[in-house]
Amino acid sequence: MSSKLGRIMLVEDDPSLRLVAQIALERVGGFCVLACSSGQAALDSIVEFAPALVLLDVMMPILDGPATLKQLRALPGYKTLPVIYLTAKIRATEISDLMATGAIGVLAKPFDPMTLSRSVAELWNSQCRPAQLDCAP
């Protein structure tokens, strides 16, 4: 397993934000990105795409971020896949609630497209050392 972050699944229901984040991750970060418009779409394509990390919006209709994460964890082999929330809910209590759902980090909206990729990579590097990834599927 590579210790370098490559494939990122982006889950965001707002089309403009989705596009901005996708371009930022692809062009600035050089990642391979699959952008999904809903939690369900993400769950449907996660096995095929096999991302190293999921960047997940919190406020979405039907399946919100935490609900998507819960269903993701229920899939076989997805107990420890690193997930980062991308959200405007950045009050201290909100962040701790979100972290408690099993994410490795919370990034604030509005985000700076020029630094988004670096923030994602830093979180991934600090939280997901290869030793930890060995336990992953």
Binding site: S16, L17, I23, R27, V28, A88, P110, F111, P113, M114
Partner: protein, 486 residues
């Protein structure tokens, strides 16, 4: 001196005479009025107390009925009639009556009049013992007046008010709107809280009542009750009323709660709906300006940068408005805890330095209060200080040194931020802490403010039980906050 007459009396008669002397002595010395009349109520004898109270002497009244002399306008005619009928029938009577003294002032008497009889049962006359109860009557009247006033006071309250004992039994009740709370007044008194309210609410109330009685301090609780028409929100204030009793003042706050919920929802929705497109705009401009999608002309770059800074300003404005709304309405939950101040101040200064550097400004911290602690919310305290630090840089002279101090006073910690430069315009000062207050920028420096900073800062400081003020002169402007020590 033993007279012949006395010597002729037998021992039985002697004893009776002594008894009479004793009684006469008591009658003349007692504080009560004693009045002896014949069967027609004509006065035969009165004691000194009679004269003291009424002003009439024995000579004034001897052989006359006292009634017509002492009765007047305020004397109750029914009482007078009752007395006359009793006298006519040879019966004793007990009444309370308001009479007039010789000089015209009125007084109240408690009268106990008994007939005395001849051996064959004929009424010979009456002995009246009368007590001056003017003071007691005045007190009773005062009490009655106060009770009426108090009742009017309570009746005027839109809230329900209950007097409840320690066990949770309703002693008294004022229920202006039976539909809004438990039941009408009459259905409440004598019942127990648990008979009228759901178990969880009853338990909460009884516990709070015991607590209030134990520590002698009032408390507020909130609870919900499900009614036929839906769930109602109530707020109860419990205060000690007397030994083992409390007053429970219950207010229906359903409407306020509903509005609060609607507003919270609205704020949350507006916040999300405004921020999402703005995030997209800022992101797009960021990508364009960052040259991610190819190089752009210097003119285009300038326009993109300008748009970006406007988008950022709009974003700050939204944050500030929502923040202010939450702080002002008390909807913002603060995480209050005793925290050390100095490390937070140091961190704030460190974080504000890059911004201040744009104005050539630097900060110096002066304090040796390393142990200073106050009950604050760490993030919100930093927001407050950051606002003061950035204001000091924005509105001070270029290349200024802003002095930050943390000092101890009797009860509080005083944190101040002092810059140098133009004083705060005098005509602007009254608006300083209001919303959308900003000094008109006559110079070209970008203030980059929303005009909400100090309003939020003040509200936040007050939520942390502190205060904020300032002093501004030609030389320097100093903003300082005070936070209670803990």
């Amino acid at each position: 001196m033993n007279t012949a007459a006395e010597r002729t009396l037998g021992s039985k008669e002697q004893t009776a005479l002594t008894e009479l002397e004793k009684l006469a002595l008591v009658a003349s010395r007692t504080h009560n009025i004693v009045i002896v009349t014949d069967a027609e109520a004509r006065t035969e004898w009165v004691n000194a107390a009679f004269t003291r109270v009424t002003g009439y002497t024995l000579e004034d009244v001897k052989g006359r009925r006292v009634g017509p002399l002492v009765q007047g306008e305020l004397t109750d005619p029914l009482t007078v009639r009752h007395m006359r009928e009793a006298i006519r029938a040879g019966r004793g009577f007990q009444v309370e009556i308001q009479n007039y003294a010789k000089d015209g002032h009125t007084y109240w008497l408690e009268v106990d009049s008994r007939p005395f009889h001849s051996p064959d049962g004929k009424v010979l006359g009456f002995v009246g013992v009368e007590t001056d109860v003017t003071v007691r009557k005045a007190m009773e009247e005062e009490l009655r007046r106060r009770a009426v006033e108090l009742r009017a006071f309570v009746e005027a309250l839109p809230d329900s008010v209950f007097r409840v004992d320690r066990d949770g039994q309703f002693i008294d009740a004022h229920v202006p709107d039976p539909d809004s709370f438990v039941a009408p007044k009459d259905a409440v008194i004598g019942r127990h809280i648990s008979e009228l309210l759901p178990v969880d609410v009853a338990v909460k109330l009884v516990e709070s009542i015991a607590n209030v009685l134990d520590c002698g301090k009032g408390c507020n609780i909130e609870f919900q009750v499900e009614r036929m028409t839906g769930v109602r929100d109530f707020e109860a204030r419990i205060v000690p009323a007397s030994i083992e009793q409390v007053l429970v003042i219950v207010r229906n706050v359903s409407e306020r709660k509903l509005l609060e919920r609607l507003k919270d929802e609205l704020i949350s929705t507006v916040s999300h709906e405004l921020r999402t497109p703005l995030t997209a705009i800022r992101g797009t401009l960021g990508l364009l300006g960052g040259g991610v999608l190819g190089a752009i002309s210097p003119e285009a770059q300038e326009l993109v940068n300008m748009s970006l800074s406007n988008a950022e300003r709009l974003s700050r404005l939204i944050d500030d408005i929502l923040d202010l709304e939450r702080v002002m309405q008390g909807g913002l939950e603060l995480d209050l805890e005793a925290r050390p101040l100095l490390p937070l101040i140091e961190r704030c200064i460190h974080e504000a330095e890059p911004f201040a550097a744009e104005f050539g400004t630097c900060y110096v911290l002066e304090s040796d209060e390393a142990d200073a602690r106050a009950r604050i919310d760490g993030d919100r305290f930093m927001q407050v200080l950051n606002n003061l630090l950035s204001n000091a840089a924005k509105y001070g002279d270029p290349n200024d040194t802003v002095k930050v101090t943390l000092k101890s006073s009797a009860q509080d910690w005083r944190i101040s931020v002092q810059n140098h430069g133009r004083p705060i315009p005098v005509d602007f000062r009254p608006r300083l802490f209001r919303r959308f207050a900003m000094v008109d920028g006559s110079d070209h420096r970008s203030r980059r403010g929303t005009g909400l900073g100090l309003a939020i800062t003040k509200a936040l400081v007050e939520r942390m039980q502190g205060s904020i003020d300032y002093e501004s002169s030609i030389d320097a402007t100093e903003f300082f906050i005070r936070l209670p020590k803990c």
